[in-house]
Symmetry: C2
Subunit: 340 residues, 2 copies
DNA sequence: TTGTAGGCGTTATCAA
DNA sequence: TTGATAACGCCTACAA
């Protein structure tokens, strides 16, 4: 397997008997080239299997690599996968490529990946920030003009664009839905740590909705969970209260999963449940899981559009785009409270 | 927001009063540098916020970009997301970055993405091939030494490494499991087109297992489906046969979903079901869905290891690595056939 | 319609 | 221990 050097523009030029610049012109449909020359060049390109070197091109042309760097906590998570899909879809036409890294929710890992992306001179940087991260180190990049966009949660310590779900409004919709079905004691199981942006936004929606309905806010009905197991425990604890909730709002996927598992194991088919974020198979359960569905692909698309507009010269102040959520009733959120 | 030019090696050098090469030496711990010089250089680097330009470095040094290109049908699919996670995890230590593109199962889109990756001079290329794709166009790359690894399904028209799941063995395990629980009429719902690699491998396992158990192969029990809806229809058709199956083996996720939905809608809790590939929430159903679970992260990891060994000079013949599957009984696969 | 000179930011080579 | 020069592959600017 002879590892022959890849042909360059000069190789093609030599073969045809023209200058490198002429070959370049043909390939980029740049200046004028005679039909005959063009044809000969194209033939040589095919024959040699020449492919222009994008690294060299980018270096000369833009000083930026034609990539968008995206950092997510975990690629395997379909939510972030959809975000990536949305981005890729929106940047493809612009001949931009997606560079993907994962942080594992660890701010240090995140910074390492960011560094490697910056070293590559990505055209724009998109980050789903890790919990408790500090993004002050990105200030310099921001001020040097790099489009920086936070997704799902805003970054901290640096002013930048952001695209987030309608957390507060979505939670409002879910909780109001439960209230409309007669519930007045509604448990809330949220993210850990409770300082997390999405947690705060959603809990805010929960609280405001109760208040608007004239229902007192009871801290005893609020629990934390960062895993299905812990959420399951929280569900049991809430349901064992002297005045237990008749409905639950699980503010994230893991909490929903935990609640489902526990309610199913304990044969509690009387507790109403609405979850934030949709789950596959959620409609096959009995009852189906009512959810506030997010639109992760749209998050990605909006982020990409924001980035592209920045690249196109939009120098207006940093802004936050909000992507709407959608209530999907499937049964669990429409259960009535027990007659008692 | 003044868009100041990024500092270069020369800028740092000028500030310190040394040559660019000296700065380069410090940063790469290359040749000898006096402690005093090193210190001054590092200070200037920090002060200016200098970050070496990887594009320029790669161009000078290797003529290859330090990236691994991965092309999958759809990033949002958690299966492929896990593959990507496995790869990223394995290449991170080697200072390689993941370049991710999606093909949408369209061979032409796939080729476009591949081209753009080749233009970037990726260090290695990994592809989950689209249906009916033809990879002859990659022969030249292969012979020029580019590590090329197909994942989940082998490529066609080019000899290359591959990493696949134990499709035949896994299906054997699932079908044998149903037989062990007393079933003799077992339906099979497979991928479309039926020429698909995974489809063929799995159907092979199905057929061989029946044969080994002395059960005649009945083509009437075999159906195709590429979506949950179609799969659902197939389920109804099979169950309406004069001699309907008492158990089903759904050879992929979509088929499993469709079967679940339809069985649930038709209140058919008497039909045993084993699916190939795990589903989230599968254990919350009643009964839980028994599956042959794949290990996508391991697929990615193996692919990465294969690529790295090629990069390290492994010039042995192309090989195919097989990643084992695992039977997870959860109830649906253990239902007995009706007494009749 | 085509070619030449120079440079993007880095490192290899050789000399000082 | 350090520096000057050339080169990686391509494109911009200008000239022919």
């Amino acid at each position: 397997m002879a590892t022959s050097r890849r042909p360059t523009l000069a190789d093609v030029a030599e073969r045809v008997g023209v200058s490198a610049k002429t070959v370049s012109r043909v390939l980029n449909s740049d200046g004028p080239v005679s039909a005959a020359t063009r044809e000969k060049v194209m033939a040589a390109v095919t024959e040699l299997g020449f492919r222009p070197n994008l690294m060299a091109r980018n270096m000369r042309v833009g000083a930026r690599d034609s990539t968008i760097g995206l950092i997510v906590p975990q690629i395997a998570n379909p939510f972030f996968g959809s975000v990536a899909d949305g981005i890729e879809d929106a940047i493809r036409d612009r001949n931009l490529t997606l560079l993907l890294g994962s942080s594992d929710e660890d701010p240090e890992k995140e910074q390492v990946v960011v560094s490697s992306f910056l070293a590559r001179r990505v055209t724009a940087l998109m980050i789903v920030p890790s919990v408790d991260g500090d993004h002050r180190y990105l200030r310099r990049e921001r001020s040097s003009g790099l489009p920086l966009i936070f997704i799902d949660r805003p970054g901290s310590g640096v002013t930048a664009d952001a695209v987030v779900s309608a957390n507060t409004e979505g939670t409002h919709d879910g909780v109001a839905h439960l209230i409309a079905h007669g519930h007045r004691r509604i448990g809330f199981i949220g993210d850990v740590p409770s300082s997390l942006y999405t947690r705060k936004q959603r809990q805010r929606g929960y609280r405001a909705t109760l208040q608007a309905a004239g229902i007192p806010y009871d801290p005893a009905l609020v629990a934390d969970a960062h895993s299905p197991t812990v959420a399951g425990g929280a569900v049991r604890r809430l349901l064992a209260l002297p005045q237990p909730p008749t409905a639950l709002f699980t503010a994230n996927n893991f909490a929903s999963l935990g609640a489902l598992t526990t309610l199913s194991a304990d044969r509690r088919k009387d507790v109403a449940l609405v979850g934030f974020d949709d789950l596959p198979l959620a409609d096959l359960l009995e009852p189906g899981l009512s959810v506030i569905a997010q639109d992760p692909a749209m998050l990605g698309r909006e982020a990409a559009l924001l980035a592209l507009s920045r690249l196109d010269g939009d120098r207006t102040a940093a802004r936050t785009a909000t992507v709407p959520t959608r209530l999907i009733p499937r049964g669990s959120g429409e259960l009535p409270p027990p007659p008692g």
